[in-house]
Amino acid sequence: MRRNSSGISTMVGMAIIIAIFFTTLIPLYVYMSSLYNLLSNEINSRRIRDVDRETEDLKLFVEGKSGINQENPSISVILKNTSPLLIRVERIWVMNVETGSPVGDAPCIDRILDVPPGWNITENVNTCVQGFTGRVQFIAVTERGRLFGSAPIDLLRGRIIAGLFPYTLTVSVINMKRGSEYTIDILPLEDADIHPRSITYKATASNENISLSFGATAGTFLVYLKENGILVSAGRLIAPPTNPMAVSLPDYWNVVFILSRSTIQPVTIDLEISAPNRVLEGEAFQFQIILSLPPQAGEEVRINHNRIIQAISLSGDYEQNTLACWPVAETLSPGSTRIALSCSLTASELTGNRNSGSITITVSQLPDCGIGVDSGLPYPSDQDSTSIQVRGQRGR
């Protein structure tokens, strides 16, 4: 009886320990395993979704018709699925590239577009960009969370500029006046269109010429030329006979405004010799020839260095054949003063009992000291002369 009772307590104790083991630790282990499996499955699912997402490849192309009917423009986005997966496009945005904001602050297309692998889908997007002028980019958002963008394109009042204007109208202006502002205004008639419609240019030189090109549709245009905001009178034009000039594309591609040439009168260039007042006998020294172009000159002048060198005459106590000159400045602009030549010369030894001598440098008047850059006319210069005292070494 005693032995049996002791055995029952031990058995019960053991049974409780085993029960604790089976009812706590094993379920905890099983629970942890199932949680871990759940997490593993989620990680695998996420990895599969990420791989699918990365596999998506959608290309966007924008296509527009170049019709001139303002009421019926046509812009389409072509979605080309180059991936092996079906791509579900949830929506398409139109982004204004300049401001970085969606056009209309809302998606352009907010409905599902399924693009099977290898297929193209064309979607009309006229309504999203109606009347819009600027640079835009179309962005497609897929169901898996990828964004695909098109190349940015330029729109003008809701139409694609490239392809919209199949013709080019060239407007040339000949013999512009330096400092004047010239404006070309083009007025399209009826259903013709052109871009841009106005350009202003400031002439930086006398008798300057420019040619400007405008994208245009077929049709008739009136081309106006204004000088400093005032319409150029026909009397000032060598051609064409009228201003504005009417032109019809595609029959005529050019308008050339030839203004009467403004005459350029050459002005006298001021020439000066810059030399030291005194030098020692036998000493080599330098002097410069400086030119000043008056501000009244209508153009830049190219300096004629050879003619100036030929015009230099020397007399007095100098060593023969020691004159050497080299050019410094090449051109003179109106109102500028520049060193044209830098020269070197050697004073001779004083003979006899003389303790001092002199050298006289003269640059004679030139009819062609420089040449006008635009006109090609010769520019004269005045004369200049200077004397340099030569002192003996003994006298020091």
Partner: protein, 171 residues
């Protein structure tokens, strides 16, 4: 004369000894059962609490795997950010900032009051409370979010260690 012990009294003495042993055994049995049950209860309580904590931790880890928010478009004029949720859980946005790329990230600002973005890519949600930091472009748009069921409006910072971030470069 030989005396013999009374057999009845001997039997009585032996019977009392047996009672004590039985009582002891019963007490031992009761003690073992009581301690065992107490241990069992403690173990069950501990395991239950640990299981709950494990489940909560795994829930947060799994939520991270299921969460996915994308920034679709940004307006620098109105500081509006359009986001959508192609993930599997609804997301609660807790922070939205727009800062120059040349400056460090401002981190989680808790400036968006838990805007819920449903787990569906079919409709974008506009975040209009995004905080803009001064500086030159390009900008980084940063949106922090957590699974909606982890978001606590009374304490938005709780569970923020499980927050995810979506970034977008705006030139």
């Amino acid at each position: 004369m030989t005396t013999h012990p009374n057999p009845i009294s001997r039997r009585r003495h032996r019977g009392r000894r047996g009672d004590t042993v039985i009582l002891g055994e019963i007490l031992l049995f009761a003690g073992v059962v009581a301690v065992g049950l107490a241990l069992w209860g403690l173990s069950l309580g501990y395991v239950t609490s640990q299981s709950t904590k494990l489940a909560e931790d795994h829930d947060k880890l799994i939520s991270q795997q299921r969460g996915f928010l994308i920034i679709e478009a940004v307006s620098l004029q109105s500081n509006t950010v359009w986001v959508s949720n192609p993930g599997l859980n609804d997301a609660a946005v807790i922070s939205c900032t727009i800062y120059p790329k040349t400056t460090p990230s401002p981190g989680i600002r808790y400036n968006v009051g838990g805007v819920i973005v449903e787990a569906s890519a079919s409709r974008p949600t506009a975040l209009r409370e995004c905080e803009r930091f001064p500086g030159p472009p390009p900008y980084i748009v940063e949106v922090w979010y957590i699974s909606a069921h982890l978001y606590n409006p009374q304490d938005p910072a709780s569970n923020s260690m499980y927050a995810l971030v979506a970034r977008y470069e705006k030139k």
